[in-house]
Symmetry: C2
Subunit: 264 residues, 2 copies
């Protein structure tokens, strides 16, 4: 990628700059445009490693000469559009703190849900972007590919979720905006959900065949219609404390599945 822009953008009236600001700030705008913004070298590197295309790269003037940015630029497909922003304009739109000033607009993937007959993770109205991102990161770590999100789940591709996921999104196939009926119609492996109202301890449950783990809303848990179709599984809490954080519960379930298959 040869960087040879003729223009330095200094005005926040620039159409692309206005779009970036809207995409960073509002879930509604991301939905409307079908796009999101990834910020920082780390996420851009994750996208590049997955050959994920960029709709637009934006740089600050001073980031242009940064070695890590230079390295990113050489890896970009030649047709990638690049905008150079004045440092003050870039600072005024970024949502990250001080760092290497590079961001990209990408199209949010919208895969079509077909039959799922392998391991998957179902996010049933998980509210917090940090929890969703952490769950995606853990799923990617254990090698689970399919993520099914019901419609009230936090956006998997929002800037916050991308940050918490550390770019795991690029290694996953994420189906968003699903109804519980969509899930019941397409998931052909047994549904499992954590519950404190069962004596079936996860360590005693056979997880050798593919399963669909359901993680629910932080306050209300898994919705009744999904819970009715799922096998309840308990994570032991010998000290009788509060239920675990949903990202923790998810990690324990995914890792116990991995352990039973590969390390027992």
């Amino acid at each position: 990628m040869v960087l040879n822009p003729t223009e330095l953008i200094t005005s926040d009236k620039n159409t692309t700059v206005k779009l970036v600001k809207a995409l960073l700030a509002q879930a509604r705008q991301r939905k409307k445009h079908g796009q999101t913004v990834i910020e920082g070298v780390h996420l851009i590197d994750a996208a590049l490693r997955s050959d994920y295309p960029f709709a637009q790269i934006l740089l600050s003037e001073s980031a242009r000469s940064h070695p890590e940015v230079q390295q990113v630029l050489t890896r970009l497909p030649t047709y990638t559009p690049i905008l150079i922003l004045s440092n003050s304009l870039y600072e005024s739109i970024r949502s990250l703190g001080t760092g290497i000033d590079i961001m990209a607009i990408i199209n949010v993937p919208t895969p079509n849900l077909s039959m799922i007959d392998e391991d998957c993770l179902i996010l049933n109205d998980v509210q917090d972007s940090g929890n969703v991102g952490t769950l995606l990161r853990t799923a990617a770590a254990v090698g689970i590919r399919n993520i099914l999100c019901t419609s009230a789940t936090a956006q998997a591709w929002s800037p916050k979720t991308l940050r918490a996921g550390m770019g795991a999104q690029f290694a996953l196939t994420i189906y968003e905006g699903l109804s519980t009926q969509d899930i019941l119609d397409h998931v052909k492996v047994p549904l499992l959900a954590t519950s404190s109202h069962t004596d079936t301890i996860i360590y005693d449950h056979d997880l050798s065949a593919p399963v669909a783990w359901i993680m629910g809303h932080e306050g209300q848990g898994v919705s009744d219609d999904l819970m009715q179709c799922a096998t309840p599984i308990a994570l032991p809490q010998p000290n009788g404390q509060e239920s675990l954080n949903v990202a923790i519960a998810g990690a324990l379930c995914l890792y116990e599945t991995l352990r039973q298959r590969q390390y027992s």
Copy 2:
């Protein structure tokens, strides 16, 4: 507890109100006063269940008649001082959103570190309050009591950490502000730290005797001086992704310890 205050506080010049604002906003003020603020019925209930004393209760005028607040008030020791704030004053100082307007000032415990010869969790400069809180919550769930925090770890009793910990703090003994030498001098059980530079998979490592799990800084991991004294243990990541979030890694270690002792 009979609630019979003669006064309604409306001014933000009130000494207690000023103190609460300072304690909610600044780590430095919490350190200086040795106090923190817990907000909401849930945390106050957690403190009450652990017989943790309150230095001061603050209520909004309208929260006073709320059944959950009434219930809390009947459980308070009779000598607990209570202030009633006008609704608008309470709203102006709270750090939570709309909810049941009750908060309390408590003294942060400062236990003396003596020899540790049982399971413990060491937080070695974990930066993020959410991560610290989640780690405390998980430690409490599995029944680990002793938490040792090095000095750059996020405050265990800050309002944010208390929220993420869901009040687990009240079930734990948390030593803060420690040096790595303090830890090496007092922890008499083997130190373990997760690492990707080892072939020792956690599932193959014998965890039947008491251990001290060390969780490190989100970016830099465990400090060299502690790592040198610890056995490195790998959490498998078959998909070769990024290292796991520290709260996730901690939960996997604590739960594998529990599993080996009670479910294998």
